[in-house]
Symmetry: C2
Subunit: 409 residues, 2 copies
């Protein structure tokens, strides 16, 4: 029966958390800061939990250098919930900014950059929610694909000339890192596959799903974004909490927009403004996931050198693993899924093992060595090594040794 030290957890999410954080959380579960009560047993409106959530917000703002004109929110429903909330809130914001009579109002375009499974799902959700509510009515919006790499099976990112943004779009949407496919926008603007911030039309809101690369390295051009969101369960904390970073002018009263007409109704828990007005405490928040996230943030700042430290370590981890896999590929033993090198994710490394029965053999050998949760997503197959913040360079070294051994040195 293995200890934590004997196991190397490459889960895609929920993902490993730092042991010291979990040890502190285990104490907090029984008796939080000597209150005689556990963290899950305290009112979310009491002074103890308020200090937790406000501390998490301040630490996150410092860690990511989030400008003052953005609000940080903690909510529920995951990235999938925000697929809906992004459309609902930004259509309301667009409507309030265009308060013409309903009969003069034209449903706006919303632009999606589709580079993998998650951005595909976000686009589908925009289509679902935009259906005309009555056959005699227009659609609520016109979801468009502004760029897609589906034809090459998500193995690369669009090049600059493939983007086609609409200057009147209510927003442009992209997913920074596609967890399932292992593809990520490179941070350097000189890379051809970098996200083309310079092509975003002035005044158009830019939305990024950062779920699986959040706080793994700096966010390029954070101030060019309208909204950034992330599920916690990769780099930040346990599943059940979602972090939103929203430019303050987009915290709008959706009921007011509904009264103007031509927008879909917004369930109150998905209205960003009501969350903001109540400091993320409009209704009972997921207190334990927020608490552990707060502990992780403190740990990253004090023990891991903040975002610069994380960037350095994560870069080294990814480079080592990709180099090992490139070597193995040159020997014909493995194949990397993402063909465009600069688009390879630092967080989710996807590859296949070549040869009949070899994948099974690889996974069995991995299991024996204490490597866990390496099986690829059911929609892609193969192997996926997710190497989030809490996965150490030591674990990567051991995995690389095993890959070399498996492929014959």
């Amino acid at each position: 029966m293995p200890t934590r030290e004997q196991v190397h957890n490459f889960a895609a999410g929920p993902s490993p958390l730092p042991t010291t954080v979990l040890e502190e959380a285990a104490l907090g579960l029984l008796n939080y800061e000597e209150t005689g009560m556990g963290i899950c047993e305290l009112s979310h409106r009491g002074k103890e939990f308020k200090a937790v959530i406000e501390g998490a917000e301040a630490d996150l703002r410092a860690l990511l250098s989030i400008p003052e004109n953005y609000t940080i929110l903690f909510t529920q429903g995951g990235g999938t919930g925000q697929f809906s909330a992004v459309l609902l809130n930004l259509l309301s914001a667009h409507r309030l900014a265009n308060p013409v009579p309903a009969e003069e109002f034209k449903p706006p375009v919303v632009d999606y950059v589709v580079t993998g499974s998650w951005s595909s799902k976000a686009y589908s959700e925009a289509q679902r929610l935009s259906l005309p509510p009555f056959p005699s009515c227009p659609s609520f919006s016109e979801p468009r694909i502004a760029a897609s790499t589906k034809s090459t099976n998500w193995t690369r990112l669009p090049s600059k000339e493939e983007y086609n943004f609409n200057k009147d779009a209510a927003y442009i949407y992209y997913c920074e890192n596609e967890t399932i496919n292992g593809i990520e926008f490179p941070p350097k603007p000189e890379d051809d596959s970098a996200f083309p911030f310079d092509l975003v039309p002035e005044g158009v809101n830019l939305v990024a799903d950062y779920s699986s690369s959040f706080i793994s390295r700096p966010i390029p051009n954070i101030e060019k974004h309208a909204v950034i969101y992330a599920g916690a369960q990769k780099n930040l904390g346990p599943s059940g909490v979602t972090v939103l970073i929203i430019r303050n002018d987009l915290l709008v009263d959706t009921t007011q927009a509904s009264k103007l007409g031509c927008v879909p109704p917004v369930p109150i828990t998905y209205e960003w403004k009501i969350l903001a007005d109540n400091g993320s405490l409009y209704n009972t928040p997921p207190t334990f996931p927020i608490y552990v996230s707060a502990l992780v943030l403190k740990h990253l700042i004090s023990e891991k050198g903040g975002l610069q430290g994380l960037e350095k370590t994560n870069k080294a981890k990814a480079e080592l693993l990709y180099q090992t896999l490139d070597d193995a590929e040159s020997k014909g033993k493995v194949k990397l899924v993402v063909r465009e090198k600069s688009a390879r994710s630092w967080m989710n490394v996807t590859f296949t093992i070549e040869g009949e029965g070899q994948e099974k053999k690889f996974l069995e050998g991995a299991e024996k060595r204490g490597f866990r949760q390496l099986k690829g997503h059911r929609s892609v197959g193969g192997i996926r090594a997710s190497i989030y913040n809490a996965v150490t360079l030591d674990s990567i070294n051991l995995l690389c040794e095993y890959i070399k051994e498996f492929c014959g040195k």
Copy 2:
């Protein structure tokens, strides 16, 4: 600095949890069943977590005797999320059951029984989401108040003759226990303030918010309900997970309903069918809150005598505390908020301390004796002792002694 044993936690939610459960959860946080990984670090699709969620479902079904034609779901967003989801899913179900052309379709009435703060909020949300999407369109539904005790400030429940249900309503909604006001429908049908199941028109869907009385005693007439839901953070587990019990015919494809028109669009995470089709794992669930809830269910079944044992203990706890308060009231020292005796909640006991400065004095004395989180909700004031499953009869005895002492024996 107090230990857990020195503290008596009367929080309204999040609420106390059994110490043995928290001790087990603290171990599971670091190394779940000797996997070398903590429960928060395991894939929600792996065999370990599947066993947890399926076990929780089976235990809950057994505990509450939930009939086979109901599906149990675990989701996010709290009771407030379900204020929206109830309307959205049941309007879609109603539309699919009435597939006439859009121009012939008449928006249905939805009936609300309003007996306190939470049912008021649920009603307001139905109004928000029903607004006509375009000025030329009808409303999506017509929310009606089928009974209300607002005029008596939620200090009693409606009597039978005050209900006015619509036989064509898409559903009837009530809140079984109003956490803030401390009012609850009595379980015995002979009580005048019992919920009038016999008045519910045949074929009309009945929806109950059971958030703060869930698994505290049997649910009367469970099979007469279409939907029952509850946030976990009172009797079941940590905040962040919501339990739904839904009659199978109401698991409908809301996109199909949207295509027929005349219904509001449904964010995918609030569609019950997609949750059911994926065994509550459509998107990443709040794994830790579900895990602790699963442990609590096992504890209630094996240590607390199941629902009959809980009912007996909870009845004894409530009777003792109300008797003590009635005696104190007769001495003019306190005043119970809920004036109708049979409508007094077993879970949330609300009262005020009479006399200038006496409430502050009462709370200070309570704090010294280890009583915590007794302050009433900010909208009601006074004192609220929430005495959920994890609050022991011993704690109630100590609180009663203090009340007697405070009032002068």
